[in-house]
Assembly symmetry: D3
Homo-oligomer: 304 residues x 6
């Protein structure tokens, strides 16, 4: 039985009325919580079936959204040893609350942890615009560390400009470069921090196109590099061998009026292998990139 709130939420997600990883996850969790609360299931079997069906509808409304998927799995996993529907309803409510709180605190926690890795006088480099990374840099600045930031412009959408504007508005000394100039200045960088859209079970970081290239240049120069990422972006479906799909975006982003016959390939993300990353900043703390698989295994259990 698909509940009215599930249906409504799924539609809103599909129509992009709800968007942004965290907003989508919150909406889905609230839908499942209401579904559980209003459920008329008499037996645990029936209740579980209902939960799973509703989750499936929500997940299908945006398949490549690990934060939502992980949230729903987190809630459902709690029910495995429960015997009574009433207990189960309580666990669903508790699970949803926990997960939302987790997400809300994660960015804050990462800012706190990550900023400790920035030293007074450091030159930080970042790529694209990540609010998680911004949180770290701003926290370090507020703590009185005199840092300066080099940010790429991030073609084709220039998200680096958002980063630059925000940093400058805080008074943080900021230098912008074209993406291609990253290796050129790398020897002057103390810490390269990038965000992530997803992290796979085999520890590849999925982030804005160009990330892997800059991380490679950092490794060559022995510049410390890291990825700041909430663990709810660790994607358990990759445990089962699924591969993150790289969105291919509109060629117009690259060139408004290209000559006829020209093909433009415009991937949104790339994969950074773990050997190019020195450490991960997560809300659990600083970990090595190789530990994401264990955390996925522990949190979401084995492959179904």
């Amino acid at each position: 039985m698909i509940s009215p709130i599930t249906k409504k939420t799924a539609v809103k997600i599909k129509k992009l009325e709800i968007q942004g990883a965290r907003n989508i996850a919150i909406a889905a969790l609230r839908a499942i919580e209401e579904t559980a609360r209003k459920s008329k299931a008499k037996t645990m079997g029936a209740f579980l079936k209902e939960m799973k069906q509703n989750c499936e509808v929500l997940v299908k409304s945006r398949p490549t959204e690990p934060a939502m998927r992980n949230g729903l799995n987190y809630v459902v996993k709690k029910l495995s040893n429960t015997k009574h529907v009433s207990d189960a309803k309580g666990l669903v409510r508790k699970g949803c609350e926990e997960y939302i709180t987790l997400m809300e605190h994660a960015v804050e926690k990462i800012a706190e942890i990550g900023s400790r890795r920035i030293k007074d006088g450091d030159t930080i480099m970042t790529h694209c615009h990540s609010s998680t990374v911004m949180g770290i840099i701003k926290k370090a600045w507020k703590d009185g560390k005199k840092i300066n930031v080099i940010c790429t412009e991030t073609r084709p959408r220039f998200q680096g400009r958002i980063t630059a504007k925000e940093l400058v508005s805080f008074g943080i000394p900021t230098t912008m470069i074209v993406d291609s100039a990253a290796r050129y200045v790398m020897n002057d960088v103390d810490l390269l921090i990038v965000g992530a859209d997803a992290v796979t079970a085999d520890s590849f970081i999925v982030n804005k196109i160009g990330t892997s290239q800059i991380m490679l240049a950092a490794k060559e120069a022995r510049t410390m590099s890291c990825c700041a990422c909430e663990t709810f972006k660790f994607d358990p479906v990759t445990l089962s061998g699924e591969w993150e799909t790289i969105e291919e975006r509109d060629p117009k982003e690259v060139w408004e009026n290209p000559p006829k016959g020209l093909k433009i390939f415009n991937p949104a993300f790339d994969f950074t292998p773990p050997q190019l990353v020195n450490f991960m900043i997560t809300e659990l703390g600083i970990i090595t990139p190789y530990e994401t698989g264990m955390i996925i295994l522990e949190r979401y259990g084995k492959v179904v």
Copy 2:
């Protein structure tokens, strides 16, 4: 004694009325040839002094132009064992002619040699716009090789669009990517060819910003990479420890209206170390990148 033609040419170069490495070199050589021809010097000492003074004026009109500098040195070096002014005048004329011919034939020769390294079905990647590289690609295409080309857009000036337009106009299947996507597609590339603005005595390639980053990604992927470059771009002043100056260009190229307080660093070139380059395509033939120093030593002699 600075001749009228030297003065006139130097002014035109300074005012950018003459531009482009080859055009500048040709104009300077013609100026020096006329100066020699009309010289009234009676002794070799006087003639040599005059030649050197005129060369100096020309070189100073654009100090970072190795093609012109090399051309003038090539001519003057011929005079070292000459005893009579009349012989010397002949040698200047001969030297100028030889050098101009050398430059004229070099691009053509490189196209011929380089195209042999392209196999039917190859995917070629290039960065920025280099007429030397274009010559190679077009020769391979004319020879009936079914290739396709991936070109970067080359921020901030989008010279990759010139490359793309030209290739498409020839009917060559071409795909454009943003600079950041180079590593993403590298495993599908058979040969990466870049040009050069200058090559140093210790074999660093000076080319459009981003070159070293793409070459690094090619090395990581064991993709064959090369640099197509006329030897008159090998810069003998680097033998003496001079370092190529990297032009820092107008920030407006990167962002027309940046927020107040933002610094934009916009270097035009970067350095690619020889260990990232598999081979060089020169008009002398295919050589390794490590041989540029020997060629400079042999051609221009020791450090003065």
Copy 3:
């Protein structure tokens, strides 16, 4: 007290009447299950002692067989907090069943997970003959992916021919090369999949001689490489510092009639360090090679 079934099974294993990692493990587990069922021990102390003695006899019948060793340890470990012999007998039975099921499902599960990492049109390379790897390739083929496979001949025993025959019999386009040609064709390979005979606590993969050499060539070429391996091959004795023994095999395998005086060194396996492996395909899911130690620690507990 060594039970009759233990004695009988141990003899059969020693005499190679039972062979193959999985068959040996199953026979040993069935022996221990029967031993437990028929045990006349009155106290847990006596029962545990009996179990351990019987396990020891079985393990000693083939010391370098991690699958059997792990299975017996898995069963015995379950008894640690049990107070009554009757409960313990139940746990032994349950443990044996679980472990056998685990092994039976593991290969199937790995085929399912691993095949998801193969894309339509991929060129797969493999070395030697591994039924785990074959499972993956055949699953991908059944799922309609148009792949082709490059297999080495695998000197000295030509196990690659078994691989080739099997693949060709399924209609999968297959190319054979001599072992030495692996690096030559590596740039055309999309995914290199090898199996494993054992994986150590410090994450070295023990597999057919030549594996590490091919994996090194894959790393150099940025070709994705992985190892498909059931976790019951992760060897807990390596946690205690024991090192996998590399079997040295009959020189006749290499050269039937060698000249007198020639020494032939014929190791059966080699060690591939984790930095040459991109990911592991296990029945738990895709993990990084560095996580084997944690899985051993968690599953088999600390060093005894």
Copy 4:
């Protein structure tokens, strides 16, 4: 309420009357045990508060001492689900005993495990003086393995001489080199073993200055390298982004009477990244360097 024993112990630690990682940890644990035993707290809340205050005083007496910090955390963490003060007191006593035993057994265990990785005839290299490493080498020697050891002199304090003296007194063939000669002899080394003062959550090894340089040379030569280290040196504060402070020591250690105006930089330790380490020898067993973060996470819980 700070107990008299806590106060007394803290003073002794500050005054260096108690020194050495293990001695400090034992003294602190005994202080906290006595404090707990004599506590007059009526409620768990009060008891817990008292415990934490006393721990804080002890930790502050020497902030960069992970062994003590970990020991106290180990004890306090045990109290999280306890409801009665009497139970809690028992748990504190048990925790202290467990931890002291753990430390006492760890070095012994590591000697046993590590020595198994040494083969008859091996050449071992070590740097500085580590009793953990010495334990391994001496165990291997006692077990009859004919090894020989190369030890650096370890400037500026010549701790390598302590190592050399001790090894020679055992009759172990030993060769000393200056620190700079490590790469020169590396191709003749079978196993490089270093100790650790601390290991961070992102798996950097903090050890005597020069360690990272020698480990780099080992990696270049594919010489097996490892770090022998009790897990109580894994530092959980690094999980929160804290960075180990590298002590800068007296310049006189380097040069007694330097010329006026000369600055001498004399760091005591350096950081070795995990990619330069093949494996860790801990009392839990052989693990990869990348697993330290997971062990910290599991043992000490999340970041507070």
Copy 5:
């Protein structure tokens, strides 16, 4: 005018009545010498034309034979500044003699030079069978150096057995391995010596399939590696961008009766890039692999 001796020789080469790099080169040189001697050309123009036509016929009789091609070019190049036919005839005779002597002495010279790089007690590894490499090893052995040799069997044609037999017949302690075991034993090797069939202008070594893989393993282990090669195998056509063709040999060599449908790829050679080679042993002396291009340029002149 094609001379009778040229015609006859060309036929013999085509029919494989003359074979082996050196024999072919000698026959061709003798043919051109006789042609010159008997020439009836009156002018230098006519003589030169005749020489070139005859050379062309000879070269075309076996196009991928650098030793012959180089020899003929060596002779013809001598004529460039000659004015009289009689002088030219003398130069041809002199050139032929010089080149034959050069080839005859080269192997001997390389044995002498190369053997100096072998130290008493060294373990040498080699791949395939190269008389140049054999010369080095045998010279070292005759000089009383107690060495031992590891040789690969070299699939698919087992040329390693020729190497093994020859070494054993000299009493040199020799161990054979399958090709795949090279990396396994590499840490025990002091010097890896391979031969070459050709060396390109960009310093890639063309040698028996598997060479690049073994050289890669040597580099990873910091084992000194070198290539022993007469400079007449340096191929000047690669200067012009021509690429050495890799002969694809009969699949039967790999598997006599393969299953129907199986493709067998059997390349005879591979390319080793110069960064995997420490030094070259040539008859000119020890050089780095990067100097082949300069030697080709100097010896054979610019690209025609």
Copy 6:
């Protein structure tokens, strides 16, 4: 016929009455010049024989002195096409003068060239004490560049203290570290400059023990590294396969009173492979490390 001056000079060199590479070379050249001047040889054959005999005596007086050996070879090589003794005597005199002048100017020239590679604000690192390197640093300082220098202490003989004293006496801000701290500070270094005692034909740099280790750390950190070296230290005997002997020095240098039974290995030099060196600063100009072989070949001719 060995001349009196040759005999006298050889004795002085043997007795160390003349020492230092340049002084020895100058003395030997003056001896040979006097020998030539006073020669009573009537024929070129006799004269040449006399010259070679005298050179041999001088060379044998100190066999591992490339500067002297090269100087004498330089002089003798000039005589190869001479027909008259009187001309030959002139050539000997001229050769000696040229070579002495070359040596005298080389250090100065290198200072000039090398200092151009130092930029205002650079941090320079050096190892041991090299007057060639000091010349570069002092020239840069005199030219007004605000640099600072990090120097190692250079165990066991503390030559780094000579470097430090000299730099401080010039007012150059200088920091000393122990050799082991090089990698620790490497990310802050802009240019690492080392000297050389000899350079081999295959481009290995022979310099103070520890050089290769520091160069490796520089490469890892993409810190620019170079070697400053007069070309008369390029050693032509290495062309013939001879290997530079590494002097093993008195153990007392490492430890005055070592415990009985301790072996101390104290090599004076190590080998740095060319791939760890970005460029060479020679009096001919900046070259890559791979060009030393060509310069040896050109200057000293082929292997005899």
